[in-house]
Symmetry: C2
Subunit: 318 residues, 2 copies
Amino acid sequence: MKEQDLFPLLEGYNNISIFTHVRPDGDAIGSSLAWAKALIMLGKNVEIYCPDVIPERYSFLPGYERFQDQFLPHKKEKLLAFVLDCSDLARLEYMESQMSQVEKIVNIDHHITNECFGDHNLVKTSAAATAEIIFQLIQENNLELDQEISLSLYAAISSDTGSFRYKNTTPQTMRIAALLLENGVNPYLVSEKLFDELSLNKLLLLREALYTLKVDEKHQVAWMSMKESTVRKYNASPAELEGFVNYAKNIKNMDIGVFFYHGNDGETKVGLRSKNSDVARMASYFGGGGHPLAAGCTVKGRAGQVEKKVLKIIREAL
Amino acid sequence: MKEQDLFPLLEGYNNISIFTHVRPDGDAIGSSLAWAKALIMLGKNVEIYCPDVIPERYSFLPGYERFQDQFLPHKKEKLLAFVLDCSDLARLEYMESQMSQVEKIVNIDHHITNECFGDHNLVKTSAAATAEIIFQLIQENNLELDQEISLSLYAAISSDTGSFRYKNTTPQTMRIAALLLENGVNPYLVSEKLFDELSLNKLLLLREALYTLKVDEKHQVAWMSMKESTVRKYNASPAELEGFVNYAKNIKNMDIGVFFYHGNDGETKVGLRSKNSDVARMASYFGGGGHPLAAGCTVKGRAGQVEKKVLKIIREAL
C-alpha cells in the first residue's frame, strides 16, 4: 500500500478504530493520538484501543484520556481498523480475538519483524518510529498537521529514538522533527516528560541497586541485583527497575551489564545489556533471547547460585 | 560581520590560532576542531588553544590531540585569531593577556552575554551552539564539509542541546543535524560517548549521594549532600558530581533540587536547579548567581547549619 492510496479507502468508512500494542511506549501512544486527531478532523468517528492502561507520564499528550482498554466495537456500521506499531496481532493480546468484528485492517508499522497481517500493509522498516509513517501519511494526503498532532508525533519519534540518540535516527527523522518544531512543539517539555521525570521510588530503588554493584574488570562485566521483597518494602512496582541494567553496562571499560531480579517465587529475571558482545546468545543458554545488545532470560534457583551460574556462562562465552 | 565577509579576511593570513574557553564543553571542543579542519583544508597553518586540558571523553573527535594548553604564538608572521564560544576574553583565563600578540581577533559565539570584544564579531544568539555558526560559515563560503568536520559539529550541537532536548533546540538545529547525519555521522556513537559513559567512581558517589536524599513534599524541594572527604575516599574528582543535582530536581512533583558539597575548608558549594522557580534569586541571597533555572552559591559555615540556612531561604522565597 502507498500513502496516497489511503484516502480513497477512508472514504468508505465513518467509524474507525485505532489499536496499539500491550505495554505501550511513546511511539505507540503518540502515533495513535496523532492519527486519531487527523481522522477526527476529517469528520470520522474514532476510537483508540490499547490492551494496557496508558502510563500517566504520557498524560501531557493531547487526547490521552481517549484511550480505552476494553474493545467495544461499533455494531451498526462497518468498521475500519488501523493497527499501529505492532509486528503481529498477538501484540494486541486479548483484543486480537475481537478483530474478526472489523471489516478491514490497515497495518502501519516500522518493525523489521512485521508479519504483514493487514488487509493493507504500510510497513517501512527504514522509519525510526511508526510516527514517521503517520507523518508521511498526513503530508502525502494533505491532511492538517496542527500543533496537537505535531506534539504527539514529536513525542513518539523522540521516544523511539531516545531523543535522537539511537542508531535508527536518520536524516529524515531530523527533517521531520524540524517541521514538527516549526509547528510549535517545545522540545524541552517533551524531553522533560519522557526522559527526565523520576519517581522518588525509582531513586530509592536505584540506591538499593547501586549497593549491590559489582565489577569484574578482567571480563568487563558489571552487575547489580534486587530482591522482590526490596521492591515491596518501598511499595513500588518492578516497572521502576527499568533501565537500571544500563547503569552497569554504561560504566567505562565495561562491556556487559547484568541486572538480577530475584522474585519471591524462586525465579530470577536476568536482564543483559552490552556495548559490543552478543548477549542474546548468552541468554539463549538459559532459554531466553532478545537482540544482540539487549537480551534477557529467567532462571530458577537460589539467588546466589543463579548469579554465579549466569556470570560463569557470560565469562565463558566472551 | 557576515559569513561571506570571512573569506576575504582569511586571504590575508597564513597563520591562524583558534582559542576556546576554560572548562571546555562539547561545543567549545567540537566547534574548534571543525573550524580548524576546515581552515587546514584551505592550506592554513592552524593551532588550537584551550587554557584547560581537554577531557578524555572527547578523544573520539578527530584532531583531539591537536589542542594545546600553552599559547606559543607564531612570531615571524602576523596572526589571525578565532575565539570560539566565549562571551568575553576572560574565558581564556591566562591566555587573555597573550592576545596582544594577535593582529586581528574574530569573535564567534552564540551567548546572549557576548561582549563583542573582537575586531570582527559573528555573534548569533539564536544559534543553539557555536557549531551552528561554524556550519553556516562553512556552507556560505563553500568550504568542504567532510565526515570529520561533520562529526565534530554534530557532537558540538548534540552536547549544547543535551541531544536536542533543551529549549535552545530549533528547527534550524534539526535541519543542520540532518545534513551532518547525511555526511556519515553515527548518532549512536556520539551519544554513547557524550551522554552514556559513566565512570565507576561516579556511580559509587551517586550511591553515597542518594543515601543523603531528603524530600520536602510541601515545598517541593529535594536535596542531597556530599563531603569532600567522601570524594577523597574514592580517590575521585569533584567533577564527577556534575549532574547529581538533577536527580533531586527531576523527582516527580518536586520543583527545586539542591546539592550541597561540603568542602574541607569550611565552605559549602550549593548547586540549585528548578523546573519552574527562579533559583538565581535564591542564590543571590548568598552572593551567588546563574540562570533562573540553574544557579549556585558558596556559603561558609558548619555543614548542617549551611543546609538549614539555605533551605530556609528557599522555602521563604517560594
